[in-house]
Amino acid sequence: MSDAPVMQATGLQRHYNVGGGLFQKSRVLKAVAGLDFEVHAGKTLAVVGESGCGKSTLARMVAMIETPTEGSLTLDGKPVRAEDWADLRQSVQIVFQDPYGSLNPRQRIGTILMEPLMINTKLSRADREAKAREMLKLVGLRPEHFDRYPHMFSGGQRQRIAIARALMLDPKVLVLDEPVSALDLSIQSAILNLLLDLQERLQLAYLFISHDLSVVRHVADDVIVMYLGRAVEKGPKAEVFDAPRHPYTKALLSATPRAEPGAEKERIKLKGELPSPLSIPDGCPFAPRCWKVQPKCRAELPRLRGQPHGAACFFPENGTYPE
């Protein structure tokens, strides 16, 4: 395996114009405000953060559903531009959170699985079907499921079908937007096993989006912590979880309930709530809620510093930057 990343993003941004009715001027919402990352074959890059911090927007940009407002994305070293989407589509596929909404209720499983091949390849019907059946087996479903409709399946089975569809075109990168958040605990572990197993077999690169830290801790190789459209911390999983640098990461970790009754832990209480993405404060976006805040934080925007484990904070936890 070469060390060159399959996918690389630099300064990725996505803005939306919101409001803008008859009497209002529209305002710019920076859903993603500058992200850099690399995804490597066979590795998982996890993105965590609270609701509304721009995780799904990032997923949509990577999966070529939306064009970045600014910044660039490269796939295998080649730039991804809107004109080339049709050709590059096959390399990046996506799995959504809601297994009930992501399968067409009027199509049979077989048709759902064969559709990508029908659109993108010139395979004969028999070949398509053979490939679809093989994929069905790979994700742990049974051959007789081929002719059934999605409403006959449970949430976990549907998520398997969605994964199977995403894999039909042999992608290199799989974007997983909260793939297990809607599933029960007992189903979740089976899907996570399946994903890890597939990654190993097919050397897939995963962009794994989740708000569940215990899941991320289990699957990730590298982690990005997002806050209001920005990466506030980025680094190898073990370091981020064991020695978080950014105060937000630390608060997030301490707020996550652990399934250990009576375990002693100090919880960092955050003041207030996520500010509206329309009125992100100047300076550090986390400053209004931060317990370490100093005047400097309100005046100046901290940049993400430190490699491979960096944080965007002037007063990081766990030591200063190794620069």
Partner: protein, 325 residues
């Protein structure tokens, strides 16, 4: 006398394809000031059993029970008028979806004052003062201003606090919180759970916490009842449940937690929760249980004693010697 006593509660729904048992022979006791967590997978009847208690199920549901008493009132054969006096007053509930439980057409202040008016009969001034006081109590900053906000102008966490404020407006003896934090972020979840725990401490109310998050259970509850496919399969104090689960389902569920994983491959529970069409004859967990034998598959196990956490299993885990009866 316990605050809440449920014996053999069952709920059946009439559906397109015949009757469907959503809650099956559930027993539950609850003392004043206690925090009981009910955990279980989606569809295991957690919400329905509590809605049955409140008398809020649709007409397609048939509720049967040997006993359903709350604070000395028999809720099973109570007149609708008398029930309305108790429900919302002494017995309050926070519903699963904070956004859809508030009326989008009215300000949150109007809604909470309306609740105060109908239950306590306060006059306008008293209502306003009480509403402000409640908002302060649940940690809503700037309550005077927030009273005139509409639900869509507030965040999910704020709306959830408004719901809690409305629920505790009449100082209930028992508060049922149905997944109060599932839709919220962990930092907000921590705030809400702290808030509920503080309220319990200050007012001495009992709290039933419905959830499927084992972490929340471990950090908040005192006693845990595990439901599976409509049945209560186990009940233990929280520490004991996590240390020595007795029902194989509880054991498997705890093993499946990613944070307890020791290797990359997580232990799984094969199969899915039985639905309307494939309810097993014997133990409901038998198709997925790794210890199941013919007896499990043919005979439904009755609940064991308190020492075995009332587990509905012939072969409970962590028993010093396996009881084969």
């Amino acid at each position: 006398m316990p605050l809440l006593r449920i014996r053999n509660l069952s709920v059946d729904f009439a559906t397109a394809s015949g009757a469907f048992r959503a809650v099956d022979a559930v027993d539950q006791d609850m003392e004043t000031g206690e925090i009981l967590a009910i955990v279980g997978e989606s569809g295991s009847g957690k919400s329905v059993s509590m809605l049955a208690l409140m008398g809020l199920l649709p007409w397609t549901a048939t509720v049967t029970a040997d006993e359903l008493s709350f604070d000395g009132h028999d809720l099973l054969n109570i007149a609708p008028r008398a029930r309305r006096k108790i429900v919302g007053n002494d017995l309050a509930m926070i519903f699963q979806e904070p956004m859809s439980s508030l009326n989008p057409c009215f300000t949150v202040g109007w809604q909470i004052k309306e609740a105060l008016r109908s239950h306590l009969g306060l006059n306008r001034k008293e209502r306003h003062a009480r509403a402000v006081e409640l908002f302060e109590q649940v940690g809503i900053p700037d309550p005077e201003k927030r009273l005139s906000a509409f639900p869509h102008q507030l965040s999910g966490g704020m709306n959830q606090r408004v719901m809690i404020a409305m629920a505790i407006a009449c100082k209930p003896k028992l508060l049922i919180a149905d997944e109060p934090t599932t839709a919220l972020d962990v930092t907000i979840q921590a705030q809400i759970l702290d808030l509920l725990a503080d309220l319990r401490r200050d007012t001495g109310m009992g709290l039933v916490l419905i959830t499927h998050d084992m972490g929340v259970v471990a950090e908040t509850a005192e006693r845990v009842s595990v439901q599976y496919a409509g049945q209560k399969v186990e009940e233990q104090p929280v520490g004991a449940l996590f240390a020595t689960p007795h029902h194989p389902y509880t054991g498997a569920l705890l093993d499946a937690l990613p944070e307890r994983a020791t290797e990359k491959k997580l232990p799984t529970i094969p199969g899915v929760v039985p639905g309307q069409f494939d309810r097993p004859a014997g133990c409901l967990f038998s198709p997925r249980c790794k210890f199941a034998n013919d007896k499990c598959r043919s005979t439904p196990p009755p609940p064991l004693g308190a020492d075995m956490g009332y587990a509905r299993c012939f072969y409970p885990l962590n028993a010093n010697e396996r009881i084969a009866s």
